[in-house]
Amino acid sequence: MSEQHKSKIIAVGFMVLLLSGLMTHLFCPKESVSYSERRLMQQFPPLSASRLFSKEWTEKFELYTLDQFVLRDRFRQLKALLVFDVFRQMDNNKIYVIGQDVFKLEYRLDEESVRKASDRIDDIALNYFAGSKVFYALIPDKSMYADPATGYPILDYARLSGILEAETGSAVPISLYDELDADSYFRTDIHWKQEELLLVLDKLGHSLGFEPDNQYTEKTLAPFYGGYYGQSALNISPDELTYLYNDAILNGEATDRIKGEPLKIYNPDDFRSVDPYNVFLGGPVAVIDVINPVAEAKRELVIFRDSYASSLVPLMLPYYSRITLIDLRYVPYSKIPEFIKPAGQDVLFLYSALLANSSFLLR
């Protein structure tokens, strides 16, 4: 190819690429939601004379140009491939992959945060549940079971749980570390798999005073693209989401206490939503009451929780007449009396280690 031809191809090709980017941006339909990133996508910010070129408007416009770029997910995938395969970096946006397992790089221990989590547990236990049996259980992050030979730093779970144990005086610890392993978690999601929680259920039952019979029927939904799938931007093979049920679970009744609306224990329709994990108890709901109308014992349980509890609580339902779930990320703890009247319920703080390490999220 001659220099002249090459120059023309470069010049024309460059303008074609840029103008194609512009035209597709202007004329392609806009996405309102990103299923891979589980968030709303920025739309064109409203224009007005006062807003035009204000810092706020230009920031939103910049975000809009990125969010609505044509083939955005494909470009993110290209970037992930370049980072891992060309630049040979260990993680991309703090997401890394070992085999077909996706993890998030979260390893800096914030001891102050863990102490604050401990203080919160003690405050609630002493102020609201003085006469109750109070327990706490820390859910290890899946990265803690990854092969250490891969060289990825992980959160010092032993140190974190040690601080919590040393600082928490008003609640009895329940260790779940040995009841879980690498296969207990979804490959493409942060959460654990419900069908792998039977040993966890046994351990909790041993501490709280119930004996699980572990008789369930399984129902599987597929493909399950977990939260990490979208973040990885890679072609990871999806998971399957299995939920377990028996008569007690099927007869259970759940209510969103703040909205006053009924919820389903399992809602398969949510499997096609932005976050398929919402199949379990409708996802992030601040306060839920779950009633077992056929419970033999009139026992009640209060769980202060994060999202992991959504898949565990249905399995505990047969052993309680009522389970109240409170998510302190959405409800300030000063409002607890609005939802709970202390009456000797069992109390369980069930948090992931990552949340204990970021306890500023608790209100």
């Binding site: 220099e3 090459k6 460059f14 470009f75 946006n93 800096r108 730093p153």
Partner: protein, 466 residues
């Protein structure tokens, strides 16, 4: 608006290039002026009047110098222009630094807390160089306000250089030619600059962020951090110059080179002939030489060097660390001039390069340390006096993760890649392959850079606020 943004690459630039080549030739400067004003207004609407006032001042002063009869009147208007431009820079960039230092004496003068207008250090230096060159008779005053404003505001170089001398583009403002060869050259420089910034500089910036966030530092981690910082500054700043030169060429302007593989230098003297060339030559021509340069007695020469490097340091930032950074180079330059230059010429180049590396990396410790306390901590850590391990797990993780990035950056900072490509092009058999591969490679680089942009977000150049 940043060059490394989707809004610039896929909205602003294609529209401006398309309209530029559609409008009649005599309207092209006006169109570039409008586009450049829009570009500046998008990023800095509040301080637009400051730039406009400085441009008008430069334009009017140029005419006044041209019209003045007698050297005293010409000198008066030249000094007036310098004072006007300098005052703007002083107020917006250095006022609070001065106030803070005066307040150390016990006073309590309130800070002005003015934001720094984008590109003020660049466009004021350009205007000062213009009026001084008019005064010196090197160029005639520009009577056309549109052409003059186009020179100052030309968006490829407006906010981060290079500092373009009016004399180098005066003719090009009047008449310039366009060709596919120039356009494709411009595209090449633009895409390579974009790739340097997004694929390399930003990756090094991520390493730096990881270092700062780490509570498990080591001696090696500190050295890697400052190596990354050195390379990041080079790739970031030279990328911007590449993009500016590339875009300039697309519009028919031939801007001068601003970087010449500075990290391959064998002395600090050589480094400053290769790094930010437009700033170095500006300071030489408008401060150092007027003060007498090196054609004076030794004490005066030392004084001249110290003043120039005080300016150099302060130009980069209003802080004592930047003053110390300038002073650091002043001392080394004097030592090289007086004592080391012959030695450096005669030792093996590997040794002289090692000498250079061991001096240049610590220089950026001054650059990066915003307080004297930070400076002390950083130097102690680098020299092993800070009770840190030599290496640790965090360091290994990030070294392993960024090894290829460092390798690409180190090799890319040399002339090896361009020499290799040139050698391939010199071969008649391979020239056809190279000519075919080049458009494909440029397209792949552009798409790769786009992929990183789309995945990320805010992405500022480091010299954005100078």
């Amino acid at each position: 608006m940043l060059f490394s943004s989707v809004s610039f690459l896929y909205f602003f630039l294609p529209v401006v290039i398309t309209v530029y080549f559609i409008v009649p030739q005599k309207m092209r400067n006006l169109f570039l002026l409008i586009a450049s004003m829009f570009f500046y207004f998008y990023g800095e609407s509040g301080y637009m009047p400051v730039m406009v006032a400085t441009i008008l001042s430069g334009y009017v002063h140029g005419l006044l110098i041209g019209k003045a009869t007698g050297p005293a009147a010409r000198r008066f208007w030249m000094i007036s222009s310098v004072v006007w431009c300098g005052a703007g820079l002083l107020v917006f960039k250095y006022a609070d630094f001065l106030i803070l230092n005066v307040n150390r004496t016990g006073l309590d003068i309130p800070l002005l807390k003015l934001g720094l207008p984008l590109g003020i250090s660049f466009y004021t230096f350009q205007i000062i160089s213009y009026t001084i060159d008019v005064y010196r008779g090197k160029t005639l005053p520009q009577r056309n306000l549109v052409d003059f404003a186009t020179y100052v505001t030309f968006f490829p170089q407006l906010i981060a250089g290079p500092i373009v001398r009016y004399t180098t583009i005066a003719e090009q403002l009047k008449t310039r030619t366009h060709s596919f060869a120039d356009f494709s050259y411009g595209v090449r420089r633009l895409v390579i600059g974009l790739s340097k910034k997004i694929l390399v500089a930003n990756a090094l910036a991520n390493f730096a962020v990881s270092f700062r966030a780490s509570d498990q530092k080591s001696v090696l981690f500190y050295w890697l951090y400052f190596l990354a910082l050195t390379l990041q500054l080079y790739f970031d700043f030279s990328a911007y110059s590449d993009m500016a030169i590339g875009m300039g060429r697309i519009f028919g302007f031939h801007l001068l080179e601003n970087f010449n593989y500075p990290l391959t230098a064998r002395s600090i003297t050589e480094f400053w002939h290769r790094w930010h060339i437009s700033l170095g030559t500006w300071l030489r021509d408008y401060i150092y030489i007027p003060m007498g340069g090196n054609r004076v007695r030794l004490p005066r020469w030392v004084f001249n060097i110290l003043i120039v490097w005080l300016f150099t340091g302060l130009w980069h930032g209003a802080g004592w660390n930047f003053v110390l950074w300038g002073g650091y180079f002043a001392v080394i330059l004097m030592m090289e001039k007086l004592v080391l230059s012959r030695l450096l010429l005669h030792i093996p180049s590997a040794l002289s390069r090692l000498y250079f590396i061991l001096l240049i990396i610590p220089s950026f410790v001054f650059f990066d340390s915003l307080t004297m306390s930070d400076l002390a901590i950083n130097f102690k850590a680098m020299t092993g006096f800070a009770d840190l391990p030599l290496v640790n797990a965090d360091t290994f993780y990030y070294l392993r993760s960024y090894f290829v990035v460092f390798l690409i950056a180190i090799v890319g900072a040399t002339s090896l890649p361009s020499l290799a490509i040139q050698r391939l092009r010199d071969s008649r058999h391979l020239l056809c392959i190279i000519n075919t591969a080049e458009p494909v490679c440029l397209a792949m680089l552009l798409l790769s850079a786009t992929a990183f942009l789309v995945d990320g977000s805010f992405n500022p150049f480091l010299y954005f606020r100078f």
